[in-house]
């Protein structure tokens, strides 16, 4: 049974006001004198309480900087909660920052293997998927070239093809529906639909409110790191849209 439970969860980024300090400055200033580059705290997520169960398709809406992507990364285990509880049952597969995670000197074929292995594939399971991944990416003979020669669109296509070849339990998706050119986007959307059908539980971040309404049965609205509203997708999307259009004062939207 897959599930995600977040209880009183807070995530605070503790970053230095200026760039990272050299070790010698740390020794001189930090240990013996008052710091000239103190830490500042950025509250990325505040008091999040959320329970997602098997079968849920949860959409996350919110303005830029509201904490949507941070929330996904925290769910994926990349950002550790500063306080509160994060309980996850099930294997997590993530689809975000697709253009990252390539070895530039390695070929497309090799990168398929690296990303596949990182997603939990084995040489045996990957062998059966290789042809399908290559076909879906439409990269043909380019797959034999080092990926440093690829355009950013080609990289996204390759990454999307590998990332969506898995059978996910918990799927975390961040704005990947806009992968590649228009023709590829149509294909990608179909592929996503199949994946959404197969996954036990999905959390999806997108500014494409139409897609969220189509794919998700529940939604949360994040505002400055806090859950401002949660409920059926249609209701949340409407409230969020009204607030963005100024029809409803921001404070009363909840």
């Amino acid at each position: 049974m897959t599930s995600i439970d977040l209880e009183n969860l807070n995530l605070v980024f503790r970053v230095r006001q200026k760039q990272r300090i050299p070790f010698k400055d740390f020794l001189v200033h930090q240990m013996f004198r008052k710091s000239v580059n103190p830490y500042m705290e950025i509250r990325a997520l505040s008091n999040i309480n959320l329970s997602i169960r098997q079968g849920d398709r949860l959409g996350i809406v919110g303005h830029n900087g509201a904490g949507k992507s941070t929330m996904l990364k925290m769910l994926a285990g990349i950002y550790p909660p500063t306080s509160g509880e994060r309980r996850v049952q099930g294997e997590i597969s993530s689809l975000f920052e697709l253009s990252l995670g390539f070895e530039p000197e390695a070929t497309g074929w090799e990168n398929i293997a690296y990303r596949g292995f990182l997603q939990g594939e084995t040489p045996k399971t990957l062998k059966h998927k290789l042809a399908e991944i290559a076909e879906f990416s439409e990269l043909g003979e380019f797959l034999a070239s080092p990926v440093r020669h690829y355009s950013s669109g080609m990289l996204v296509r390759l990454a999307f093809s590998v990332a969506t070849a898995i059978d996910p339990e918990i799927l975390l998706v961040d704005e990947v529906l806009a992968a590649g050119d228009l023709a590829f986007q149509k294909k990608a959307r179909r592929r996503m639909e199949e994946m959404i059908d197969r996954a036990h539980l999905i959390v999806m971040v997108s500014h494409d409110l139409e897609a969220l309404t189509k794919f998700c049965n529940r939604a949360i609205w994040l505002d400055h790191g806090q859950i401002r509203m949660q409920g059926p997708t249609q209701d949340v999307v409407e409230a969020y849209t009204d607030a963005m259009n100024g029809a409803v004062p921001m404070a009363k939207a909840a």
Partner: protein, 261 residues
């Protein structure tokens, strides 16, 4: 700890394929493949063997001195490259760290495994040189190289991990490591025998943890003996110390390191 090791094992196909790629890239760049990267220690050994015996009367036999210098240089190259490249191991892996919550120790492991492969090839060259120059006697003592190499591997992995984490916090660790390694090179018995220097300087050299591993390599390869049990115990203690500090570093900083990248 066992859970952490099993998490590392779980993504073995990932880091093993990256090690494979690193080795392929390293050896593909030259016509003579891995021979090219062995050229450096062999050339250094040749020069040292031509020059140093003139100034160091305690070097009585170049036949013994040459394999001693070569094995010292090969060991040094393994450890120093683990430290030098280790400074970047987490920063260069940011693209993976930001996508998958894999154990951070796999990134320095990638370096240590690549270095270990090269070290083993270099060690094979040392064995050939030893047999040619010293003879085939006491070959059974070579079995002691197995635990020694394992300890050196764990040491290299730990060193990479520690400097990798340190550099994520302090960008100048890379330059400090360069300076530290230059000093450490002369404080490690590579071009001289561990017993050649006495007094306070000799004590300083004995306190250098790398000296123990050089002696562990010298015992079978140069002296045709099994290393003393006390030497083995010291090596184990040093390895365990570095591994312990690495594990503490991982348990304390692994989750937070993402905020430094």
């Amino acid at each position: 700890m066992s859970r952490y090791l099993s998490a590392i094992w779980k993504c073995r196909y990932f880091w093993l394929s990256l090690v494979q790629m690193d080795l392929r890239n390293r050896y593909r760049r030259s016509v003579v493949g891995m021979g090219w990267s062995l050229l450096n220690p062999i050339a250094m050994t040749t020069v040292i063997c031509l020059v140093f015996p003139r100034f160091m009367p305690q070097i009585k036999s170049v036949n013994h001195y040459a394999p001693m210098v070569l094995v010292g240089l090969c060991f040094w190259n393994f450890i120093s490259s683990a430290a030098r490249l280790g400074t970047k191991c987490l920063i260069h892996s940011e693209r993976y760290i930001r996508q998958y919550p894999a154990p951070m120790a796999i990134y320095p492991l990638r370096l240590a495994l690549g270095g270990a492969f090269h070290f083993l090839i270099a060690l094979a060259v040392v064995l050939v040189m030893r047999c040619c120059l010293i003879g085939f006697s006491d070959l059974h003592t070579f079995i002691s190289l197995v635990p020694t190499v394992l300890m050196i591997f764990v040491l290299a992995w730990s060193v990479s991990l520690l400097v990798g984490f340190a550099t994520a916090y302090f960008p100048d660790i890379e330059h400090l490591a360069d300076v530290g390694l230059q000093i450490l090179f002369y404080a490690t018995p590579i071009v001289y025998s561990p017993s050649a220097i006495q007094g306070k300087l000799g004590l300083l050299i004995r306190l250098n943890p790398l000296t123990t591993f050089v002696e562990l390599l010298h015992a079978p390869l140069i002296h045709g003996q099994f290393p003393d049990a006390s030497l083995f115990a010291t090596g184990l203690l040093i390895t365990a110390g570095f591994a312990g500090v690495s594990m503490l570093t991982v348990s304390r900083f692994e989750k937070k390191i993402i905020f430094q990248l």
